[in-house]
């Protein structure tokens, strides 16, 4: 057998090796099984306290208004909640499918849920799996609703120009996201907050909204 092989011209020898490797590949199936991983505890503990791991709702709302697209916003809530209302440009990914999702390890990822706990858990999972730039949205959906879409403002009579500017900005941002400024101050709860209705079937839009040109390649 070996003699026959040795007698073949090199190109055929290489061809045979390639076929054997190909057949073995069929049995291997998928090269990577990403369910187990090792965690660099030191690195994680050093970055865990950093502010870079969180984004405030104000920052995020500014980015969306400016059309900044260099991040991926991930909604960790249930699909029903997501369909009801979500932050524009977000995509719904459940916790269990997080590491199997389309998210790339070198992308900037921002996570949010109703509060910080779920988002923090997801943060750890992604960090442990080697995702580099993962942040969570501070106070999650609650803060988004209360501080961006329906912000309250107790600046009253606009005592100073600065306060008035802040007031106007808040109002405009809220309007952009389909909400309104709550000027009642303390009686916040009396205002009925109807979250803006979503117009488009988000699923279709969100998968492909990253219009960025290829950065690498031939």
């Amino acid at each position: 057998m070996l003699k026959i092989y040795a007698a073949l011209p090199p190109r055929k020898q290489i061809g045979i090796i390639a076929i054997i490797l190909g057949i073995v590949a069929v049995f291997i199936g998928n090269p990577q099984d990403n369910t187990t991983t090792t965690v660099n505890i030191k690195e994680l503990s050093m970055t865990a306290g950093d502010n870079v791991n969180s984004v405030s709702v104000q920052e995020l709302s500014n980015w969306i208004i400016q059309g900044k697209m260099d991040y991926r916003l991930v909604d960790l809530r249930t699909e029903a909640d997501y369909d009801e209302y979500n932050i524009p440009s977000s995509e719904c990914v459940s916790m269990s499918s997080l590491t199997k999702s389309e998210l790339m390890r070198n992308e900037k990822i921002i996570l949010y849920a109703d509060d910080d706990i779920v988002a923090s858990q997801a943060w750890f999972i992604l960090k442990a799996d080697g995702y580099h730039s993962v942040s969570i949205l501070k106070k999650g959906m609650e803060a988004w609703k209360n501080e961006v879409v329906f912000p309250s403002c107790n600046c009253g009579e606009h005592s100073t120009a600065e306060l008035k500017q802040l007031h106007d900005k808040k109002a405009e941002v809220a309007k952009f996201f389909g909400g309104a400024l709550q000027t009642d101050g303390g009686t916040e709860s009396s205002v009925k907050k109807n979250l803006p209705k979503l117009k488009a079937p988000k699923k279709v839009v969100l998968k492909t909204n990253r219009k960025k040109p290829a950065r690498e390649g031939c």
């Binding site: 069929v26 199936g29 998928n30 070198n106 580099h132 390649g217």
Partner: protein, 199 residues
């Protein structure tokens, strides 16, 4: 430790430039020695008289594919860190056709034209200037064609995902395809050679 190293921050930008430079030199040298620096050789692909470039390309694809597959299997390479662009099927077909036409008319692709310039070929310099002009025109008309440019998006998709089968099966299929391609290329070369003699 897993590759790719740069995205893990194992070396910084400056070092990555040096590595890119060295890799580029090696790549260009192999290209030149493989005959890719000749417009005639590249155009010959399209007339089936000398399929060397086709064979080299396909060999490179198969070697890289087998290498990546097995290196990621043993855990040395993290495939998810390797960047590749999104698929926009229609614009990419049109773009591919335009590139192919330019390829057969000019006798170079963007990479080989720079290799050919290194050996002082004037046609390659003209080709590269034409390419630069094309980039300029594309940039200027981009606002008008951007709708088409982003049409038929499929996201970042790979063949195993598209067909819902294992990577290994694709690897095997591409190897078979390559061997079939090489056999067909050999046959085409012989056929064209006999045709030439016949004349």
């Amino acid at each position: 430790m897993t590759a790719p190293f740069y995205k893990f921050g194992l070396f910084n930008d400056e070092v990555s430039f040096i590595i890119a430079f060295v890799l580029g030199l090696a790549f260009g040298f192999v290209f030149e020695r493989g005959g890719f620096g000749s417009g005639r050789m590249l155009a010959a692909q399209f007339y089936f008289t000398d399929m060397r470039v086709f064979k080299v390309m396909f060999t490179a694809i198969v070697v890289a594919m087998i290498g990546l597959f097995y290196l990621s299997w043993i855990g040395f390479i993290d495939l998810s860190l390797i960047y590749f662009g999104d698929t926009f099927i229609m614009p990419q077909i049109v773009g591919g056709l335009i590139l192919g036409v330019g390829f057969v008319i000019g006798g170079y692709c963007p990479g080989t034209s720079t290799v050919a310039i290194a050996t002082g070929r004037l046609d390659a310099i003209v080709y590269l200037l034409g390419g630069a002009f094309g980039i300029f025109v594309f940039g200027e008309v981009f606002p008008y064609i951007s709708d088409f440019f982003y049409s038929t998006p499929m996201g970042r998709i790979t063949l195993p995902e598209l067909f819902g089968i294992d990577y290994g099966i694709i690897v095997f299929a591409v190897i078979l395809l390559a061997i079939a391609g090489f056999t067909a290329a050999d046959w085409g070369e012989k056929f064209m050679a006999s045709k030439k003699e016949g004349k």
